[in-house]
């Protein structure tokens, strides 16, 4: 794996100007500042609302697929072929270069083994990392920071969620920051000197005996100060990073700014809603296509924006469950079971669909209606946590789950 990377790096100068080279190589070649921060980063993206995996990475060669979805299938001529069996939904064209550069891998028929079809419970289980156990009060992404080999960098931005509230996945003992908007992230104005009000608020929350507010307050003021010093506003998107307008694109654009500002981000979380298509899901165009365009263009822009920092970054996507294999009575789909996950990163052995395909024959379906699960999402994430982040204590990150390294999919080089 390092061999391929070094090869690419050394050959970078030779290929400048061609469209096929990864973004970070051209940036390096043009003399972009070499990154001093060799932190490994894990970015988790949650598709809230249960994305329809069967129309996202389409098993177009599966004989049952078209029969089950008469009005919402993606015709074979429209899919972006991956390997002769699966094809990407055409709205995911932004993913195609990442696939071809082998930075993007896919795990199909993956997800949470729990049988719930409740959005709320299923999201909760995927965020706590303990399917079926409701009493877990912290999130696996937070726990994944407990046992990292390198000493924790002293930064308020080690764990960050883009959005107005801290999601379950990041709650826990490790300090974590929720940020809606970089520009609003201060008290009483943006001047470099703390305002009088900011000083008073900081003292109030610092000394408060209210445990909940004190903890968050402390993390908040740390983060505000760090952010002011780093001034991430000066890190504008790279020229080839075309973030679509909207909340998800904004989230990833700002996350890229924080990473580029060298704030020591180790784990980050962003989510994108709008996947619950019970009615008029659409096929090559329509509701699902629209949200997939936003999804894929934002992620592709983020990847381009990171440049050579992408080498140390792994992005994993997940959704609480898949949707019924058959379309329902309203040209939509109802709540199902297994789903598809994307993994993107510099060290990812991409251009490959991982996992075992369970098939769509009636007898192969889960409860006679949904795609069966062949890969536990904890196995996918476990590999990133252990082999990318270097946290070998997976029993603590995923209590109650026997995550055997020898069973990893080995999507990391």
């Amino acid at each position: 794996m390092p061999t391929r990377r070094i090869f690419l790096r050394n050959s970078a100068l030779a290929v400048v100007g061609t469209a096929a080279i990864p973004g970070f190589l051209t940036r390096a070649a043009f003399g972009a500042v070499e990154n001093g921060d060799r932190n490994k980063r894990l970015v988790v993206i949650f598709q809230r609302g249960a994305a329809d995996g069967l129309n996202i990475v389409v098993p177009y060669a599966e004989r049952n697929y078209y029969g089950m979805r008469p009005s919402i299938n993606i015709p074979q001529r429209s899919v972006l072929d991956l390997n002769g069996f699966f094809g990407l939904h055409p709205a995911l064209s932004a993913f195609q270069p990442l696939w071809q550069q082998r930075h993007l891998a896919i795990v199909h028929a993956a997800g949470s083994p729990d049988t719930t079809r409740s959005h709320f419970d299923a999201q909760d289980f995927m965020e706590t990392g303990t399917p079926g156990v409701k009493s877990t009060d912290d999130g696996w992404l937070n726990r994944s920071l407990h046992d990292l080999p390198l000493a924790a960098p002293n930064t308020a931005f080690r764990a960050i969620a883009l959005g107005p509230s801290l999601p379950r996945i990041l709650s826990g003992n490790e300090p974590a920051v929720a940020m809606n908007n970089i520009n609003d992230f201060s008290v009483g104005g943006r001047s470099p000197k703390p305002s009088l009000a900011a000083t008073a608020f900081e003292a109030m929350y610092d000394h408060s005996s209210d445990a909940v507010l004190h903890g968050t307050g402390e993390e908040t003021f740390d983060a505000v100060k760090t952010l002011k010093a780093a001034d991430p506003g000066k890190y504008q998107p790279a020229p080839n990073a075309n973030y679509p307008k909207g909340r998800f694109g904004d989230s990833l654009r700002q996350l890229a700014q924080l990473i580029k500002a060298n704030l020591g981000v180790q784990v980050a979380f962003a989510d994108i809603g709008g996947w619950d298509h019970h009615v008029n899901e659409g096929a090559t165009e329509g509701q699902l296509a629209n949200v997939l365009t936003d999804f894929s263009q934002s992620i592709a822009a983020f990847w381009n924006d990171l440049g050579d920092l992408g080498e140390d970054t792994v992005v994993v996507t997940m959704s609480e469950f898949g949707r019924t294999a058959r379309e329902n009575g309203n040209r939509g789909t109802d709540h199902g079971h297994a789903n598809v996950m994307f993994v993107l990163g510099g060290s990812v052995q991409g251009g490959k669909v991982y996992g075992r395909w369970p098939g769509l024959d009636q007898s192969q379906l889960y409860e006679g209606r949904d795609l069966a699960l062949t890969t536990d999402f904890r196995q996918v994430i476990g590999e990133a946590v252990a082999r990318h982040m270097g946290n070998k204590n997976l029993a603590e990150v995923f209590p109650g789950y026997d995550n055997q390294p020898e069973k990893f999919l080995r999507y990391l080089g």
């Binding site: 096929a20 009005s71 429209s78 972006l80 055409p90 709205a91 064209s93 195609q96 709320f120 107005p164 509230s165 801290l166 929720a178 809606n180 609003d184 008290v187 009088l196 009000a197 000083t199 008073a200 608020f201 109030m204 929350y205 000394h207 408060s208 005996s209 209210d210 445990a211 909940v212 507010l213 968050t216 307050g217 908040t220 505000v224 020229p239 075309n242 307008k245 909207g246 909340r247 998800f248 694109g249 904004d250 809603g273 709008g274 019970h278 659409g282 165009e285 329509g286 509701q287 629209n290 365009t293 936003d294 999804f295 263009q297 009575g329 309203n330 040209r331 939509g332 109802d334 709540h335």
Partner: protein, 821 residues
């Protein structure tokens, strides 16, 4: 979480002297009030006396006897914190005078409370009194506008309404033209683009048809620079994130977002269309998928932006004289403009300017002008404003709290298609009348409401073996499917599942996937009569699945619509439902993890009293757990509760509630904007985060400084002025008493006092007062609609700054104490 001893404060102490006021308070609060050793001794002595006299007597207390002791004050504060959106100045004394128990009883019977003051505040919102059908007619979506364009519907005769239609038609036409232009451009770009794509493509062949959605999505029809909601990917819904993001983008006093009624939001209309406008909507929204090569995009954007900037400058100069006219004349001038002029005018008076323009006009005039910009937003904005005004000003506070609670329990998202026109009636006619009534009535009302039927898709759910599901035409004969029509009609599980999981049994209620499917069959045929036109509930037998259904081991015999009634009755009277509803109520009124024994007792009442919500609440309010010290201030306020309580605590006067609504959205809780059927969480963990805390602190400061548009607040008066108290320390203690009902922690007090210290010696107080007055003047200016060019007075740079009265008030509202209730 909190370290106060588990002791009840529901009792009356024997000694009623001032220091004893701390008897029931947590130790840290008590400590902050006792600073000198002598006072400490006195305090200890009184504490002992007080403790000796403490006898649990809440239940024995005579209801008519007014409360007067300090523990009664605490009881009053607690009751106000839990049953209302926060105490207003004077509320605590009033509740004490009446007696806490009696006050609670009155709140449980809102019909006995006079609320005319609120009603006159709501008078201005005409849509609150309109039927869904009238809303559609008055504030048309693109689909209706298109019908008029196509001659399928006649132009309204009323001149104001006509103007709205004309402007929307012109806008739609312009958008279509732009779209065609862009399509041509895309055609020209295409060869170049394919070439570059092929360069990156290694092996995979890309058939022309797989060129992803490019030609048809035509970015130009809604270019980014129009401030469109380009992130919207769901063709019938605006996501709550977008509502929040839109609010965040404009939180700094300026609207111009899709979520508000401002003279600046033409493009968002396309997002709010009823479902039957979907095909057209898909076109509009597909346009948001920006896939033009970046260079092309940049070029268009730059040129167009430059043009628009010039145009806008010209226009704003041109329209400036209008602002000096009296309101009625202003309105008439606009209505007399040609359609093109109206469009230019709307474009020119974005943001605050637009709001200034409306000052002094009649409600209908305001609505008409707002509707020129965005007809659909008028409806949802009035709904949002009414909710906030009710939370702030209604005397029937418990009724408002419960209406909010049930709306959230039976959540419907305003951004989903027709729900934009259905929510007003949903809250008014479905939720509110049953807020303190019988749970079953409420459940049935929601099940039959067009808003819920639409939101959870049940209106389209069809029995696979029903006449319509089998494709049998209504009047016999054969149904011939047109070629290419591969539609299937059948079951939709969405409502069936959420009914069991979220509305009644809860996720642990012991139901299976089969129960969900069977429940969905039961409700087939429960549909809406023309949702886009604001029609009502309809039972359609042709959609109903024949045969018996088996839900939760119970056989429901075939009887059409009544099957649904039978299932709802079964669910409403289930012990699981009784427990789940009791748990959620206890989470709202007691704590995030309420004592199981209390929940059990409430559930018992629920079953015994046949789901009488008032009785269940009465059990709750009279429980020792409710009055336990660990319960006191144990709840973290939601953003709505925080903002409403801040306005109430200061006694502020709200003229326009939209800016407040945007602040709430910025804190993560856009009103009516919860997209998932779970509604918003009531737990602390959801609302305590870095960005939320910062948003709260910044709101508190902006609010008390008079920087939130549409709200008049006067901290100086609250602090005993005007003029502002010369001694900032005095201002602090007065404001502590008023805003935090005197329960400020030592940490909070000291942190603010530390900022005041230099001023006491440096004679800064006077200057603080000046700056406060300036702020007041500015507020006045703004409200009378005059332009104000005055800059706030600057202090000499070398003098250390001290917080003025406004800032002190802001610090207290942003303090940890004020985040709890």
């Amino acid at each position: 979480m909190r370290s106060s001893p588990a002791r009840s404060f529901s009792t009356r102490p024997g000694a009623g002297q001032r220091p004893a006021a701390t008897v029931g308070l947590p130790p840290r609060v008590a400590a902050s009030r006792i600073r000198k050793p002598t006072t400490l001794w006195l305090f200890l002595a009184l504490l002992i006396v007080g403790m000796a006299c403490v006898v649990p007597q809440l239940l024995a207390k005579k209801k008519t006897e007014p409360d007067s002791g300090p523990n009664d004050q605490k009881r009053a504060v607690h009751a106000l914190n839990r049953l209302t959106f926060g105490p207003r100045p004077g509320d605590v004394q009033q509740v004490m005078a009446m007696g806490v128990d009696r006050w609670i009883d009155v709140q449980l019977h809102p019909e006995k409370i006079d609320d005319t003051a609120l009603q006159s505040r709501l008078e201005q919102f005409r849509t609150l009194r309109m039927s869904a059908h009238e809303m559609v007619e008055n504030f048309p979506d693109n689909q209706i506008v298109k019908q008029v364009m196509d001659g399928k519907k006649s132009m309204p005769s009323d001149s104001a309404r006509r103007a709205i239609y004309e402007v929307q038609m012109a806008r739609l036409e312009a958008r279509q033209e732009k779209k065609q232009e862009k399509q041509q451009e895309m055609q020209e770009e295409k060869p170049a683009r394919s070439a570059s794509t092929n360069e990156t493509a290694s092996s995979s062949s890309m058939p022309a048809s797989s060129m992803p959605a490019a030609p048809s999505s035509s970015p130009a029809s809604m270019p980014a620079y129009e401030g469109t909601n380009a992130g919207s990917a769901n063709d019938s819904a605006k996501t709550p994130e977008e509502l929040a993001a839109a609010a965040a983008a404009s939180s700094d006093a300026m609207p111009a977002t899709a979520a508000n009624a401002n003279l600046a939001t033409p493009s968002s209309a396309s997002n709010s269309m009823p479902a039957s406008g979907m095909s057209m909507l898909a076109e509009n929204n597909a346009a948001t998928a920006e896939i033009a090569p970046p260079t092309v995009k940049a070029k268009i954007t730059d040129d167009a932006q430059a043009h628009r900037r010039e145009d806008r400058l010209d226009a704003s100069l041109k329209f400036q004289p209008l602002f000096d006219l009296p309101p009625d004349e202003r309105y008439k001038k606009v209505m007399a403009m040609s359609v093109e002029e109206k469009l230019a005018f709307i474009d020119a008076v974005k943001g605050n300017k637009g709001q200034d323009f409306l000052i002094g006009m009649e409600p209908k005039q305001k609505e008409t002008l707002l509707a020129l910009a965005n007809p659909q937003a008028v409806i949802s904005d009035e709904l949002v404003q009414a909710k906030l005004l009710r939370a702030i000003y209604s005397e029937r506070q418990l009724d408002e709290v419960m209406t909010d609670f049930w709306f959230n329990h039976f959540n419907v998202f305003v951004g989903k298609g027709a729900d934009r026109i259905l929510l007003t009636s949903y809250e008014q006619d479905v939720i509110r009348p049953h807020a303190l009534g019988k749970f079953e009535d409420l459940l049935v009302a929601t099940a039959k409401s067009p808003a819920m039927l639409f939101y959870l898709d049940n209106w389209q759910s069809m029995g696979p073996n029903s006449p319509q599901g089998l494709g049998i035409p209504p009047h016999g004969g054969y149904y011939i499917r047109k070629p290419g029509d591969n539609r299937r009609n059948g079951l939709n599980e969405n409502y069936g599942r959420e009914l069991l999981e979220l509305h009644t049994l809860s996720v642990n209620g012991g139901y299976s996937q089969r129960d969900v499917t069977e429940a969905a069959k039961v409700f087939t045929g429960w549909t809406i009569d023309k949702p886009a036109q604001g029609g009502g509930f309809k039972y359609e037998p042709r959609m109903h699945e024949p045969g018996p259904k088996f839900v939760l081991g119970h056989k429901i015999k075939p009887k059409g619509e009544d099957e649904g009634r039978e299932l709802l009755h079964m669910l409403a009277t289930s012990p699981q439902t009784a427990h789940f509803i009791s748990l959620k109520l206890a989470q709202r009124f007691v704590s995030d993890d309420p004592p199981p024994a209390l929940v059990d007792r409430m559930a018992k009442t629920f079953l015994k009293k046949k789901g009488d919500i008032r009785e269940v609440l009465s059990t709750l309010f009279h429980s020792p757990e409710f009055w336990n010290d660990t319960t006191y201030r144990a709840k973290v306020k939601t953003p709505l509760e925080f903002v409403a309580s801040a306005v109430r605590a200061t006694g502020a006067d709200v003229d326009d509630a939209m800016p407040l609504a945007r602040q709430i959205a910025n804190m993560g809780m856009p009103l009516y904007g919860a997209q998932p059927p779970t509604g918003y969480s009531m737990k602390a963990e959801t609302w305590v985060s870095s960005s939320a805390l910062l948003a709260r602190m910044n709101f508190a400061l902006a609010f008390t400084a008079g920087k939130i548009r549409g709200v008049k607040v006067d901290p100086v008066q609250l602090a005993g002025g005007p003029p502002a108290p010369a001694d900032a320390a005095l201002a602090l203690s007065t404001l502590e008493a008023k805003l935090l009902t005197a329960e400020v922690s030592k940490q909070t007090h000291d942190s603010i006092a530390a900022q005041i210290a230099p001023a006491a010696n440096g004679g800064m107080s006077a200057s603080s007062a000046d700056s406060t007055n300036t702020m007041q003047d500015r507020t006045q200016d703004r409200r009378s609609g005059q332009k104000q060019d005055r800059k706030p007075q600057r202090k000499p740079a070398d003098v250390p700054r001290s917080p003025d009265t406004n800032t002190i008030a802001g610090l207290l509202l942003g303090s940890p104490e004020f985040q709890r209730r």
